[in-house]
């Protein structure tokens, strides 16, 4: 069932893509991953994985812990080399050359603890091909923008965790890469700083950058990503445009806002499972069930309904349905 559906979605993606796009545009996919496999001894971290990312898109690489996300990202960046398969980046085979056109924010953060913030950034920018003077100039601009200017000549160690996080983000975007790979970019940031980073990401996208986002926060993916690839145990489970994926699941979920007792949700014939978020409840319908029965049950019990809406399932539910092994 699962594998059949994966194939089905794979086809949908190909179809929706080809519609209205010329061959030239198709060739300009930012990333084309073709049947890559990576083994560590007998353990297959990534198995025969294939996906592509449209230029200018925000792409979510999703999966449970240990699914092979980091290994996949490392292969895109040519930190690791695939045992089989090929990777094309911005129209050419992945190489040391393509590395310079990518920016990377790894999940495990770290800069030289005893170097000055500005110097570290200038060094990392120069490694990506900028001249040292240009890298230093841009580092200053970005430090200003992320409100880190007073810390420019401080040692990395003297910065708080959140500030180090922002400095690390600068290291990823300093050379204005056409391709940006961000692993959990919002982890450890307060809402103000998270919004700041999000705005910059959207701005970079506006300027034409392609962004690969790897995160466990499904609501962020829903807000930001155009397309996703969900992997589990090194294999692709689901990929394609986010809207198309959600649509394919249909409006099988009811979002209810109410005051009163939630006894009325006890309708095993109609409701498969219930997600409670305080005042709001999301109830997933059984196939073919009639949502109106829930409404009738609520009215019969005298519950006051302020909102009753038939929606597509949240990505969180899709994720759990696809990779929830329990």
């Amino acid at each position: 069932m699962q594998s059949r559906q994966a194939g089905y979605f794979g086809q949908t993606t190909e179809c929706t893509r080809r519609v209205g796009r010329t061959a030239a545009e198709f060739a300009m996919d930012a990333i084309i991953v073709d049947q890559i496999t990576k083994r560590f001894d007998s353990f297959e971290a990534v198995s025969n994985l294939t996906f592509s990312i449209e230029q200018g898109a925000v792409f979510g690489l999703l999966g449970p812990n240990g699914a092979g996300k980091t290994t996949t990202l490392r292969m895109l960046l040519r930190i690791l080399l695939p045992d089989q398969g090929s990777i094309r980046v911005l129209g050419e085979p992945a190489s040391g050359n393509t590395q310079d056109r990518m920016g990377y924010l790894p999940e495990e953060r770290g800069l030289y603890p005893k170097m000055q913030v500005r110097q570290v950034l200038a060094f990392l920018g120069a490694l990506k091909g900028l001249t040292e003077a240009e890298a230093a100039r841009r580092a200053d601009e970005w430090l200003e923008r992320l409100e880190l200017s007073p810390w420019a000549t401080k040692k990395v160690n003297d910065l708080s965790k959140g500030m180090q996080q922002k400095a690390q983000f600068i290291a990823a975007v300093l050379h204005r890469p056409p391709l940006l790979i961000l692993d959990e970019p919002f982890a450890g940031l307060d809402p103000v700083n998270a919004a700041l980073i999000k705005d910059i990401m959207l701005e970079l996208r506006q300027q034409g950058s392609t962004i690969i986002l790897s995160t466990h926060r499904m609501e962020q993916v829903e807000m930001m990503c155009d397309s996703i690839c969900l992997i589990d145990q090194g294999r692709k489970v689901l990929d394609g445009e986010l809207r198309a994926i959600k649509k394919s699941f249909g409006k099988n979920t009811v979002r209810i806002e109410f005051t009163g007792n939630d006894d009325f949700l006890n309708l095993p014939a109609v409701i498969a499972n219930v997600n409670r978020h305080g005042a709001v409840v999301e109830a997933k319908l059984r196939p073919g069930a009639d949502a109106q029965e829930i409404l009738r049950a609520a009215v019969a019990r005298g519950v006051e309904i302020s909102r009753f809406e038939l929606v597509e399932p949240p990505l969180n539910d899709i994720f759990i349905e696809k990779v929830g092994h329990a």
């Binding site: 560590f40 790894p106 060094f123 990392l124 120069a126 490694l127 990506k128 290291a171």
Partner: protein, 422 residues
């Protein structure tokens, strides 16, 4: 190449700017200079004053001979030791008085020559500074000569100039080389040991520096960003060369200050006692060239090994333990210095100086002792360079995998499996 240069530059600048570097670079020569100046000052000061003693001659016959034998002069022409008073049989009160004069510093000490000194009993010297052996030397000789000549006299042998009769004959050791003989064997021997120890210290010190640098990038996690920007082998090359350049800088500073110091020291020494200054150590150019080549090859061999350890380890403790197999051949090299010293042309010496992990130290040591056949030098160097290249290749692959591996220290078998990952 540009990226190797960037890594090199960062590695060099951040290291040279640390307080530790400035201190160790300046402190070592400063301490050395201070030590030499102190020694010169102290010896000069004590050598400038006459040692005044009281002679207590219980034998009753030796006092004039002893006084006469104290002929040594200080630089300023004053006698080194002067007998200010001679006593024969002091009573307790006089002895207490002598002790008081020694303690107050008016008297350098008093010498007691016992009654049966001719039968072999020791003379005794009472002083506040029993450790000042150089100043006691003239005294010791004077007593010895007086006793010996007295004994000879008693047997009917008369000798005017005892010193001449009993003069020692020294054996000078000359080194036979292809260009004839030279007479610097002791110097070259000392040179050999100094160079061997210096190499040993340098290989370990800068090897460990390289290892720490690799480990620091790993534990701070920055290595993942680095290898997303350049090839691991570029990172490794920049790093090893950067640390090497730091060592080179330090050595140059030390060499210049040592040269200045020895020039100053020699002129100082010759001012104090003309003709006694040793000539500066003479190193043939070919030897110097061989030293540099063997040293560089050995340096890269060991720093590559050390960076492998940094890449394999996840913590300092891991690194400490993993170091042992790398330090072992270095320590063994020091042990084998003895084998080479005994006969630098024996089969054992020749074989040992061929083994790549030993040759950086042992071949250089052999070179300072003699000139081995050219084919041996060439073979040893060839093996060393081949091994170094092999180790660098091996290191680059291990490094590539190791820097991304955290957690449990891998077994040797696992490390060899890594060769297949990259």
């Amino acid at each position: 190449m540009r990226k190797v240069w960037l890594v090199f530059k960062r590695e060099y600048l951040t290291r040279v700017r640390t307080r530790a570097f400035v201190f160790s670079t300046l402190l070592v020569p400063a301490l050395l200079v201070g030590y030499v100046v102190l020694i010169i000052a102290v010896t000069k000061r004590s050598a400038d004053t006459t040692l005044k003693i009281v002679l207590v001659d219980e034998s009753g016959v030796l006092a004039p001979a002893i006084s006469a034998n104290l002929k040594e002069k200080l630089q300023n022409g004053e006698p080194a030791v002067q007998v200010v008073e001679s006593l024969e049989k002091p009573d307790e009160r006089m002895r207490a008085d002598l002790r008081a004069r020694v303690l107050s510093g008016k008297l350098g000490g008093y010498l007691v020559v016992p009654q049966d000194v001719l039968a072999g009993k020791s003379a005794e010297f009472y002083t506040k500074n029993p450790g000042d052996l150089t100043r006691l030397q003239p005294l010791r000789r004077a007593v010895g000569e007086a006793v010996v000549s007295r004994r000879l006299n008693e047997r009917g042998i008369h000798i005017d100039d005892l010193a001449k009769v009993t003069e020692w004959v020294d054996i000078r050791v000359a080194k036979v080389t292809l260009k004839g003989t030279s007479e610097e064997s002791r110097q070259t021997l000392i040179l050999g040991f100094v160079v061997a120890l210096l190499l040993y210290g340098t290989l370990i010190f800068y090897g460990v520096s390289t290892m720490r640098s690799v480990l620091e990038e790993k534990t701070s996690h920055i290595v993942e960003i680095l290898v997303s920007s350049l090839r691991p082998v570029q990172l490794l090359a920049g790093k090893i060369l950067g640390v090497a350049a730091v060592g080179f800088t330090q050595f140059m500073i030390w060499a210049v200050s040592a040269a200045l110091l020895s020039t100053y020291g020699i002129s100082m020494a010759s001012a104090m006692s003309p003709g006694s200054a040793s000539s500066p150590i003479h190193i043939p150019l070919s030897l110097l060239a061989y030293m540099v080549i063997f040293f560089l090859a050995g340096y890269f061999l060991y720093s590559a090994l050390y960076s492998t350890i940094g890449a394999i380890a996840s913590t300092d403790q891991d690194a400490q333990q993993l170091q042992i197999p790398v330090i072992l051949p270095l320590v063994l090299s020091l042990f084998f210095l003895n084998v080479v010293l005994r006969d630098s042309n024996s089969t054992a010496s020749v074989i040992l100086s061929m083994i790549p992990f030993f040759s950086p130290i042992l071949m250089i040591f052999r070179l300072t002792l003699e000139t081995p056949p050219l084919w041996q030098i060439a073979l040893s160097l060839g093996l060393l360079i081949a091994t170094t290249l092999g180790i660098v290749w091996f290191t680059a692959r291990i490094y590539r995998v190791g820097i991304l591996m955290y957690g449990k220290r891998p077994s040797l078998v696992e490390v060899f499996r890594w060769l297949r990952y990259s």
